[in-house]
């Protein structure tokens, strides 16, 4: 068997992922699997039902017990289909009896109740192991994924109930209500003894099996493949085969073909005559065994009319209803006269009735608080959002610089009258002091008068540009800046008259041009 021909990617997977992988393969091979299932299961189910026509519940049990008969054909399809081998009915039918019969007795008897049986089934039916060797092999497999295999079996059981429940629900969803049975009455009867319901249940069980059984076998096969992939390194073998092929191509050297076709990996050995195949007598015995159930002890009650009553004529029904409802069983009217208090009696409470009332009141208060809070939040949110839409956001007041070029330019830091103070400094011969005061004063007044946009790290030229930009007294300010720069930085003393001239210009440039702020100072 060539692993390269596998239609799925073989690699180690987590246990549940391996089940999913099995399902994916089952989905791809759904057509042939379903055909293989129907070919075996439909005759079997019909035979079981026919022989137990009046004991349909027993038929359900027998069908359920005989499931292993139906598992091996599915596995046959899976194991061949996985490696792209023909797996249609033409290949299955000639060897059907061998496929179904492999290791049948233990599978039908004691291994029937092994929850891991979908996982270990390939050991007997594909690897063809029997007896002790089969047991050892199964134990080796179950060292890993064993618990998941059991859980998977119970999950599949649950899924069958899902299908049965769902289909029943679907039927009643589609049926007009008039045809629904009266459930309380329905469950009140011993429905075990109603053959019609039993036969319907048999049909449902068969449909559920048809849906789930192929998936059950696929999932177990997925687990089995995963275990063998790990145990035998199938993924490594595949990678090595590809690498070897590439190496041969690359070196263009003819090498003997090694192993490419040598390894029988999954050998479908169901054809081998197997020990432990049950004889016809054994099977018969088995049937007899299950047939021994008490059946005639109680007369089956025929409840079919419950669903069989169909409306005949509307007038008839109305009249019929009237007569039926007139019966005292459905209530009657009578006049009773008695005295009653005007106030309705206190409601009878439980032992903790007062606590209940308290809790109720607390809850009510809580509800009101929550409702009011929600209302408030809604109102707040509405106001907020409407503002956001209609009113343009007020620009936040810009921060004006407080310090420029190491000088304090807050108006508060200035003397009351800058020109007078400057002239006083000039009179004392402190040219730099006078110019510094003037420059600092001018900056402070211009910044606040024109709200100049100046960074904290602005230079003298930045200041001039800013003053120009707001059409302030740029000319005078430029002269002042030049004077200040040449005195303070270049240490080129200016004539006292020049500075005097700048001080004279203060009033015209600053006091008259800057609005409001500090104008009175």
């Amino acid at each position: 068997m060539d692993l390269e021909r596998a239609i799925g990617v073989l690699r180690p997977r987590a246990p549940w992922e391996a089940v999913d992988f099995g399902w994916l393969i089952g989905r791809r091979l759904y057509g042939p699997m379903l055909r293989a299932w129907l070919v075996v299961a439909v005759p079997l189910a019909l035979a079981i039902l026919a022989t137990n026509w009046n004991r349909p519940w027993l038929a359900v049990v027998i069908l359920w017990l005989l499931r292993p008969l139906l598992e091996t054909p599915l596995l046959f399809v899976l194991s061949r289909g996985l490696f792209s081998q023909p797996c249609d009915l033409r290949t299955l039918l000639p060897q059907l009896h061998r496929v179904v019969g492999a290791d049948l007795a233990p599978r039908l008897l004691w291994r029937r109740f092994d929850p891991q049986r979908s996982y270990t089934l390939p050991v007997s039916s594909l690897e063809g192991l029997r007896g002790k060797r089969r047991r050892q092999r199964a134990r080796l497999l179950a060292q890993r994924q064993g618990s998941q295999a059991s859980e998977f079996t119970y999950v599949c059981l649950g899924l069958e109930f899902v299908v049965i429940l769902g289909l029943t629900g679907l039927v009643f969803l589609m049926l007009p209500e008039a045809l629904h049975p009266d459930w309380p009455v329905f469950f009140d009867q011993d429905l075990w003894y109603v053959p019609l319901w039993g036969r319907l249940a048999f049909g449902m069980a068969f449909i559920a099996m048809t849906v789930v059984e192929p998936l059950y076998v696929s999932g177990g096969f997925g687990l089995y493949l995963n275990r063998r992939t790990v145990l035998e390194g199938w993924d490594i073998q595949l990678a090595f085969q590809r690498l070897a092929a590439r190496a041969k191509q690359a070196t263009a050297v003819l090498v003997l073909l090694f192993g490419l076709c040598g390894m029988p990996v999954v050998s479908v050995q169901a054809q081998e005559p197997a020990e432990g195949v049950p004889s016809a007598e054994e099977l018969e015995e088995f049937f007899e065994l299950t047939d021994e159930e008490p059946s005639d002890a109680i007369d089956p009650v025929d409840l079919t009319p419950i669903v069989d009553i169909l409306p005949l004529d509307e007038g008839d029904i109305a009249a019929e209803l009237e007569t039926i409802l007139d019966d005292k069983e459905f209530g009657w009217e009578e006049t009773v006269t008695r005295w009653e208090t005007r106030k309705p009696a206190e409601e009878a409470g439980t032992e903790f009735g007062f606590l209940g009332g308290l809790l109720g009141q607390l809850l009510e208060i809580l509800l009101w608080v929550v409702a009011l809070a929600a209302l408030g939040a809604l109102g707040y949110w509405l106001v907020r959002s409407s503002q956001a839409i209609t009113l343009p956001q007020r620009e936040p007041k810009r921060e004006l610089p407080t310090q420029l070029m190491g000088m304090d330019v807050r108006p508060e830091s200035l003397p009351d009258n800058v020109p007078v103070a400057a002239r006083a400094l000039l009179g004392r011969g402190d040219h730099i002091g006078a110019l510094s005061l003037l420059y600092r004063g001018a900056l402070a007044r211009l910044i606040h008068g024109f709200e100049l946009e100046l960074e904290d790290g602005a230079t003298e030229n930045d200041c001039i540009r800013a003053v120009r930009a707001v059409q302030g007294p740029a000319h005078w300010f430029e002269g002042l800046t030049q004077a200040w720069q040449s005195e303070a930085y270049a240490r080129r003393p200016l004539a006292e008259a020049d500075i005097d001239g700048i001080i004279d210009g203060w009033t015209a440039a600053i006091e008259n041009s800057t609005p409001a702020v500090g104008a009175t100072r």
Binding site: W16, L24, F152, G158, G166, L231, L243, A244
Partner: protein, 235 residues
Amino acid sequence: MQTPPIDTLRNTETPEGVEVGLRLAGSPVRFASWLVDTLIRTAVLVPVGSVLAIFGNAGMGLFYLVAFFGEWFYPVVCEVYWNGQTPGKKLFGLKVVRDDGAAVDWTASTVRNMLRFADFLPAGFLFGFLSVLATEENKRLGDLAAGTVVIYADTDERSALSSLAALPNLSPAMPPLHLAQAEQAALIEFAERAPQWTEDRQIELADQLQPVTGELGPVGVKRLQSYALWLLGRR
């Protein structure tokens, strides 16, 4: 081969252009994890209900509220705040992610869990079961609507199988030809998993690579292990 080989892995590309492999989870394990979640909810609701029943109608009202939120929001809250996992999913190593592998948000989780009702129809989750079977990515109706998938959250099985401790003490050797990444990985895995196989099987596998090693038998196995050591950086 015409159709791509069957795999439980789906490669998807994140918005960042990273290729991520999502290992999609199927019906059986999800059914099992749903059962666990249901048991947990019941285990909480039964005692809560019996205590609240003492308080008469108000208590029952409260109980219905708790039951309602437990039924509809227990999975949502768990999935959003707990890495896409409810306790049941955590137990089975599952998690919910969006189609591109991103974590589920409130919208996606709410949609997929509200539509649980549609999956439940007509009874017992039949539609959900059929939907998972029929869709390529194992999506129930809620997953289809929310654009989510359920994946295996635990690390790949391969890393669980491999152990560096198993490496033999050999002198590393450089492989005689340039190896692609997958081929390097196969060699390393061979060395790491070799102790789990019989010697016969090790030789059988190593013999496949006779065109590369030029050796057969136990010598070939050793040679491959030397390559693996070299690839692992032991030079």
